[in-house]
Chain length 216, copies 2
DNA sequence: TTGTATTTTTAGACAAGTCTAAAAAAATTA
DNA sequence: TAATTTTTTTAGACTTGTCTAAAAATACAA
């Protein structure tokens, strides 16, 4: 249907669209670790195929078709991640690269059956919502720990940074999806956040607090 | 590790090597539905990487390394086919194309865990042996129905033709893996074979008899 | 064994996707 | 608003894998 490169561009544009409506050439280049000139070339191809809205120098947005394709890739990615963790017992920090390859397997019938096989999960191992076969999914109303008030409590429900390094750190601290925590104090000097979990205090840096999401 | 094209060439060469030691450029071209000139180009690349033994005009054979890679691709293909049929309940005639894509997912850890998840199966849905993680597998000592004597009986255990059309035909006739049959008669006029299965007679053409394998 | 047919290789071209370097447009700043 | 910086695009080149057409090697047949 679409080439590997096309799918990766659509996914990148989708991801960047969540932050700001219009996506710039340089943003895409950074996201895909490629050069702006390569991006420009590809944008013309995607525009020709009516997958994006593109006018020179004006940045891009996905068309309805483009967004559908992107959401479908994300659905495939997250279902494979769920499979790898729940069925093959990989750890949550080990699955991203594999799912990155698996998301390009083209059969939708395959993905729908995989979905059914696993009991139609709604969240992947990192807490991200899994779109259903029509592309619908709950938007995440999660908050970064760094944004909530002192004495708030909530359930760890997602991450912003999906890197192995970050996920391994969280694992080590016991800060995994589903854990209940209370924000006790924010140290003004360096914005270190003091949490309480299982009646024990735990300090996390501003960076970590920015990338760890809770449901209130 | 290796490109998609390289993997497909190695697989094709491996497959053809089972019939005759040395494989010709034209054979590979036919197998991959490409042109002889394209094959020549790729053979030089594979030889440079020490995956095949190649001298101009002399045909090719796999090196030890090349064979290892090829067997690993076959292992991946057959495990995914098994997964698709046993876990996602696809029919045996529906899985080839999907597995053709899935076999290129590169992680060996993934494949080893998939293998374990399914209980280390030794045969794929078409009766072909699945290499273990060291590349070892039982060679098929199966015989085409067309080659056995009248009154022989045996268990349907494999196919030579993996096309949907053939597999669907077998399914319709009930000629599936595991069924016990007896060869009753070979009609000399056109080599039609008369079988008995579940106490009923069944006629199959020479072509079908050539592509259906039994264990005695 | 010589000529013909077949197979294989070479030569040159093309598409996809990438790159560097330079030009053009837009944004920023003074 | 004019000058400078940043962003984006264009131009031209490279790689992988493919193709067609022609040349070279091998196989076959009289």
């Amino acid at each position: 249907m679409h080439t590997l490169a096309e799918e990766n561009y659509l996914k990148a544009i989708y991801k960047l669209s969540l932050i700001a409506e219009n996506v710039s050439t340089n943003q895409i280049a950074a996201e895909l670790a490629t050069k702006a000139s390569s991006v420009t070339d590809m944008l013309r191809k995607l525009a020709d195929k009516l997958l994006i809205n593109y006018t020179r120098y004006q940045g891009v947005s996905l068309t309805q078709t483009g967004e559908k394709v992107a959401v479908n890739i994300i659905r495939r990615h997250r279902l494979w991640e769920y499979f790898l963790v729940e069925k093959l017992h990989f750890k949550w920090d080990e699955v991203h690269e594999m799912a990155e390859e698996m998301e390009h397997i083209s059969s939708n019938e395959l993905i729908d059956r995989l979905d059914e096989f696993m009991g139609f999960p709604t969240r992947d191992p990192h807490g991200d919502p899994i779109p259903d076969c029509n592309g619908n999914f709950k938007t995440n109303d999660l908050k970064a720990i760094s944004t909530v008030d002192v004495n708030t409590c909530g359930i760890i429900s997602g991450v912003r940074d999906h890197s192995s390094a970050f996920l391994q750190y969280l694992e080590k601290q016991g800060l995994t999806i589903g854990k209940k925590i209370t924000i006790k104090e924010i140290i003004t000097y360096d914005n270190t956040v003091v949490l309480q979990m299982n009646n024990k205090d735990l300090q996390i840096s501003r960076d970590v607090a920015n990338n760890l999401l809770i449901a209130l």
